[in-house]
């Protein structure tokens, strides 16, 4: 079974500064995906960034980047130039990249509430 752990229940950052959210996971699989999702108060889950485990290069999407350490099973999210609209709950998630009955099922961490202050 896979587990995902986010050890920071809450984080805060000043507008325009940089913040890093932590995530660790445990799995015996070798082929998988990792994700960061954002959930604002509207409840809508929004995909922020995705990382394939077989890729060594860290994924980047505009102001969002990850630090993927496969051996350490660590997957942190860095938000640069934080904006007020980044205020939300952030979830780290894991998915096996394989067929079968678990195909596509996401395992989520407990989430980190991020507040961006003006």
């Amino acid at each position: 079974a896979q587990t995902v752990t986010q050890s920071q229940p809450e984080m805060s950052v000043q507008e325009a500064e940089t913040v890093t959210l932590s995530c660790t996971y445990d799995t015996s699989e070798n082929n998988y995906y990792l994700f960061w999702y954002k959930q604002p108060p509207s409840r809508q889950m929004i995909l922020v960034i995705r990382q394939e485990a077989y890729k060594q290069q860290n994924a980047t999407e505009n102001r969002f980047s990850v630090n993927f350490q496969k051996a350490a099973k660590s997957f942190s999210l860095k938000i640069s130039d934080s904006q007020l609209g980044d205020t939300a709950m952030y979830f780290c998630a894991f998915r096996i990249n394989a067929g079968g009955t678990s195909y596509g099922k996401l395992t989520f961490g407990q989430g980190t509430i991020l507040t961006v202050h003006p």
Binding site: R43, R50, F91, Y103, G104, K105, L106, T107, G109, G111
Partner: protein
Amino acid sequence: GAGVSQSPSNKVTEKGKDVELRCDPISGHTALYWYRQRLGQGLEFLIYFQGNSAPDKSGLPSDRFSAERTGESVSTLTIQRTQQEDSAVYLCASSAPGYEQYFGPGTRLTVT
């Protein structure tokens, strides 16, 4: 095109009543997932549909929970004899096989 939609947006029910929650996936998405999110918690997987079959029901918490799907479209999650611990947001997601899951806005269920 239209995203994943869910209805109702909010549902308040009395303990012991049955409830039905509906999910309309994105057209053409063969995979559909139900998740439960308790207050302040992460999402817990409930069930996965591929077409109208459910190869993974491992997350359904008890036999009071069931779900069905009509072809590759609408899915209904039914909770019988609701209990207070069933209070949560129920989220539905759909995807093309191997692609990203797109989530609906969820149904907030409150059992009084």
